[in-house]
Each structure stands twice: as C-alpha cells, then as structure tokens.
Symmetry: C2
Subunit: 382 residues, 2 copies
Amino acid sequence: MRNNYLFTSESVTEGHPDKIADQISDGILDALLAQDKHSRVACETILTTGIAFVAGEISTKAYVEIPDIVREVIKNVGYGDATWGFDYQTCSVLTSIHNQSSDIAMGVDSGGAGDQGLMFGYATNETAELMPMPIVLAHRLTRRLAEVRKKNILGWVRPDGKSQVTIEYRNGKPVRIDTIVVSTQHSPEISNKVIEREIMDKVIRPVMPKGLYDPTSVKHYINPTGRFVVGGPMGDTGLTGRKIIVDTYGGHGSHGGGAFSGKDPTKVDRSASYMARYIAKNIVAAGLADRCEVQLAYAIGVADPVSVLIDTKGTEKVQTDNLEKVVRKHFPMTPRGIIDHLKLRRPIYRKTAAYGHFGRNEPEFTWEKTDKAKVLRKEVGL
Amino acid sequence: MRNNYLFTSESVTEGHPDKIADQISDGILDALLAQDKHSRVACETILTTGIAFVAGEISTKAYVEIPDIVREVIKNVGYGDATWGFDYQTCSVLTSIHNQSSDIAMGVDSGGAGDQGLMFGYATNETAELMPMPIVLAHRLTRRLAEVRKKNILGWVRPDGKSQVTIEYRNGKPVRIDTIVVSTQHSPEISNKVIEREIMDKVIRPVMPKGLYDPTSVKHYINPTGRFVVGGPMGDTGLTGRKIIVDTYGGHGSHGGGAFSGKDPTKVDRSASYMARYIAKNIVAAGLADRCEVQLAYAIGVADPVSVLIDTKGTEKVQTDNLEKVVRKHFPMTPRGIIDHLKLRRPIYRKTAAYGHFGRNEPEFTWEKTDKAKVLRKEVGL
Ligand SMILES: C[S@@+](CC[C@H](N)C(=O)[O-])C[C@H]1O[C@@H](n2cnc3c(N)ncnc32)[C@H](O)[C@@H]1O
Ligand SMILES: C[S@@+](CC[C@H](N)C(=O)[O-])C[C@H]1O[C@@H](n2cnc3c(N)ncnc32)[C@H](O)[C@@H]1O
C-alpha cells in the first residue's frame, strides 16, 4: 500500500432499497431462528415499485407469517406513505420458498461447510473500533441521516440516503477529510439551499471528527443531482446482498464475494467472515500488528478450511509464520466450532443488516470481542 | 502482501443460478442497446424454482419482448428439461419495469455519473492475461465443465457447477497448485466413482498448467457433498450482481461493491471499473510495475472522479507521484470520456456475464487493450 493517498468509502441508510432487502431477509432469518435455532435459511428479497418478492431455500420446524415480517420491516424503515414511492400497507408481498436441497443438506448435516468460497476479515488500528476510517465516517453520516429523520430534527428528510467520504492518508494514517458526498431523499417542497444548509449544520458538522474535518477546506457535495424526491424501491430496485462492501470494510482489504443477509450460520459466507474479522481484530488488539487481513477458504461439505492466510501487510511486530499456528490453536475454524464459539444460533441478525456488520459495540456482535488478545500476546512472548 | 502464502479463488459455470441472472440482465441490456444505444438500463433478475422475475429501471426508445430473451438465455445455458430443476419452456417469467427516476436522469443527462461509488481495477504480471493466477485457473475449470457438457464429452454433466483453486505463492509468485475443488451438477444414475475419475481425466488434467499442477500432490475435492443432482435455481435462488468477485479478480485486490450486469455504461459501477482495469493493465503492460491497483470514486451527477488512486503495491519501477498525473493526461475518467474511449454504447455485455469481465481476449473487451503502454513508457522516460 502507498503511504500518501486518497481513499474513498461509502455507506447507505436503512431506507436504501438494497438495505431494506437485507433487513427483510435478516428479519425473516431472525424470526425463524427464534422458534427453531437449527433452521436452515437462505432468504433473498427483491424490491421494486409496489412489490416485495421473497424467495429462497428454508428448512425449519418454525412457522412464521412472512408478509407480516416484510411489512413490519418496511414500516420500521420509514416507508409509511404511498406518495413516498413505497408503503408497507399497500405494497404486494410475493413469496416463493422451497426446502434446502437434500443434496446440500447431506453435506451440512455432517458438520461440513454449507458452500465453497473464500472469506476475508480485516482490522486496523487507525480507529478505536479497529476499522478503516473512511467506512466508519461514512456510516456515521448515514446513521445521523436516519436519526435527524426519526427524531424529527429535519422533518423533510425521507428514508433513502447515501454518504461517501474521501480521506487523505499520510504515512499510512488518516490525516484529513478531503471530500464528503451526502444524498438524501427529501420532501418535494424543500429548496436545495435549505437542504444544503441543514445537512451541513445538522448532519455533517455534528458527527465529523474535529481533528480530521476542516469545513472550509473539505469539498462538499450535498444532493449533487439537484433533486431526490423519488427514492426507495421506486427509484432503484433493491436486492439482498448487493451492499457487501458497505457491510464490511468499505473497500479496504479484499472481499470473497459472499453476502451475509438472509443466511443462517451454517453458511460459511457469513460465519467464516465473522470469524475472520474476530481473528484479525484480536491480532491488532493484541498489538501484534497495525493492520491484519485474514483469508479463509472452504470446500462444500468439508469442515476444515482448505486454506488459511494471515497477512499483516508488513506491519507485524512478530514473525508471521508462527502466527498461523497460534491462530489455528486458539480460533475454531470449522462451521460448528465457529457457531459455538461466537454463539451464532440466535436471532441477532436484523441489526447487522444496516450500518455494517463490523466495528459495532452492541453485545450481540460477539465477533467484535477482543477476549483473545491476551493469550495471543502470551503465545508470541509479548 | 506476504511473500509466501496460500491464496484461493473461485469461479462458477454459466449454469450457476446467479450467473443465469447476470446473463439475463445483460441479455436484456444488449437487446435494448442494439435498438437504441442511448437506452438507460438497470435490470435485475431473480430466479427460483419455476420463476424468473425481472425488475428494474429502463428508459429507452427500443421495444424488446423480455420473456423471449429470458427464455432464450435459459435455453442457451442448458436448462431444457423440467426434471433438471428448471426449464426455459415451462418456467414463468414475471416482469416489473419502470422508467429511470427523472431525478436521476437529470444528473446523468448533463454528463454526470449515474451514481456515487468506488471502483477498483487491478493487473499483475503473474499471467499472460495480466490477471491473478487463481481466478484464471478457476475460470478455466468452469469453462471446461461447460465444454465437456456442450460437446457431449461427458454426457452426464448438467449446467450448474463451481470450481475453486488454491495456489501457493513463494516470493510473491505462484509456484504450485495446492487444492482444487470442483462441484458439478450431474444426472442421477452416475456413480461418485465415475464422476471423480471423469472430472479428473476430462476436466482438471487437460486444463491445468503442467508447471503448477502435480496431480499426485494436489488435494482434490470433487463433488465433496457426495450428490449434486438438484441444481440451478431449484437448488439455490439466483440474483443479478451476486458474483462480483468471480466477475473481477477473485479476491486479489479490493472491490468497490458495485455489480456490472444489467447496467448501461452511464452507470460508473460498470464503466469506471472497466476504465480502472484498462489503466492498471496498461501500467503493468508498460513494465512500470509488477502489480497495479487503481481506485476511482464518483459523486452522483458529477462528471469528474472525486478521487483517483494508483497503487503499485511497492512493485513500481518509477516514482508513483508522477504516475497519477500521467494517467490523468492519457486516460479519460468522466462517464462520457470513458464511454467514448472504450466504445461502450454497443451490445457487447452478455458475453461478459460469465467467466469474468477481465483477462479476456475477444475484440469487444476494449478495456483489455494495451494500446497505452507505449505512451506510458515514453512519459516516464523508459
Ligand atoms: C442512483 S440509484 C442507481 C441507478 C438507478 N438504478 C437508475 O436506473 O438510474 C442508486 C441509489 O442512489 C440513490 N438515489 C436515488 N435517486 C437519487 C437522486 N435523485 N439523487 C441522488 N441519489 C439518488 C438511492 O439511494 C438509490 O438507491
Ligand atoms: C450450496 S448453494 C448455496 C446454499 C443454498 N442456498 C442453501 O440453502 O443451502 C451454492 C451453489 O452451490 C452449488 N450446489 C448446489 N447444490 C450442490 C450440491 N449438492 N453439491 C455441491 N454444490 C452444490 C450450486 O452452484 C449453487 O448455486
């Protein structure tokens, strides 16, 4: 990685169509896990004008009324009025669910991975949450957009919105915000001038860190299209699993391509990504490296990973060949081991489906714990 | 990046449900561009047992019969028999298309980017196509799976399939294949023993490079679940834009999160990713670096990128601060400039929707040309 450069990450609000789809998929998953913690779930959602279509493979002893969950999520997100482009009461909910393929179930029942694939986890000590700065700040802006709307601080803000933050790095450290982009859906009567002023005063200034944010030098793009009244699924078709970089590290580090939402933890796309983050975060928290990326890869039906890669990107304080052995000793990597260690058979997923799966401090986010840092330090003699 | 490590990438066949969805979305895009090259298209597909649902935002002067395109793509991919889990004749095709939001169109009509976002391009001199080795080999296996099926070399192979290749790197170079995973859908009467033998003899051996592949030491996992008769959309719901790492660099380098298929080139998710690859590839082809990654970022409605990052990962042969200026001089980065330079207003996309958007040598893949290498060398005094 270069030392001096600009790096950009983005985030979207819970009212963005792809994120509504993620929340519906995870809402259904949670409802099923609450009744039957061994539910096998792969639940995909597509949203467009007037329609929410839910499809997937589900094997469970639970019974849930899917349309009720769909409507409740859409209501909670804020689409309560058909003139806003989408509305939880009048939209149609279509479902097409079948059982998990018995051929796949066979491999999973015996403890094997629910799919092949590669998964990455990342951590960096550039923020307190051990996350890259650009994605942390991008999420702060979209969270704040939802907050000013829900607390009625800005009555004209509507649910759909996006943010983007460009950070200048010097010597590998974030030193300055270079550019901020905020787009928010709004009611038709509000002028661009008011939008710009109120987003500056009530959204951006209150949440950007003093040390990095100089309002006079930062380039601001606030609703740069000039109009954003049509929003939500009416402006853009939403699908589960289409914000996988917003869900993770904002483009810092690699991604294996697998989505999270709607998937029960026997799917390594989800559970092994959580484990990879847990490993990377504990390595950085232990002071073994400034940055760490972990790649795990699986074969379907096979329990142990086919490859494990720990990459400290030249920032390590100890020899890395040793590190892989130490990690294998202290972190379980089979689907069952991961599920048990991180307590993943619980209805904890809907929360993860907006504002990122990582860098969160709610107690359900067990993969954010740094409880292995001490033993890691001991193992490498620090 | 570490010097000695195992790295894994995967690919899927054109019969994988997510890839059928991509091909349908790009098939519709092509049909529209063929009639009206200024068509604005954002076309998403979801496939599950017996259903193909197409939704999105389309503004065009063209008229196309969407169900015909959907059925033709599914037929071409190989699902012609309902007992295989999906069938182009009997599946239902639902569509829900609306116009592009006039609020977005406003920003795009004036030459601005069709969305905000970050896009990456990557190149490495570890293969002739200047692509990472693991994804190149993973694609070779899935292409070969389709070939033995379509040429009837293996009559029992059915359309859905996946591959995964783990490569050992030493001193940053690929030296050995460590693990190969191949899963293919198959007819019910064939035994696992025959599957294993014929996949070894007719699929893996003929396409793996002699120098890297030692059949006695490589770990092979062939249909590790033990059975894969149920496949396609019946085994797994397919969605457009859910194989974005298979579409790009297999997890080498970063990803911005945007999908390609179904999007006309005013969407920077697609066009700027193609440009970023073109820049990275020309830099490596010019011998300016062994590896190169380019990040571009845009604000919606704004033509120029908000940030440009060229990262040669420490492998550069020239000073990199200079490189950004040189690149800005020779490569257009506005949506219009990119579209013109790479000739993107043509019906060339369906081909891209399986086996990767990069590292291809068909003439339509203009972003793979190395026609800027010479001027780059000259600019840096090589
Ligand atoms: C620009 S849309 C993607 C392109 C769209 N499918 C099309 O056909 O033009 C992506 C996201 O941008 C946001 N968006 C929608 N309308 C917008 C507008 N008028 N101005 C700014 N952002 C907008 C929404 O969050 C939406 O989900
Ligand atoms: C394993 S499925 C994903 C999980 C699935 N949605 C579920 O609910 O279990 C992902 C892909 O694996 C492949 N696949 C499907 N059935 C398989 C089997 N029995 N053995 C190996 N691979 C299979 C297909 O390419 C499919 O699209």
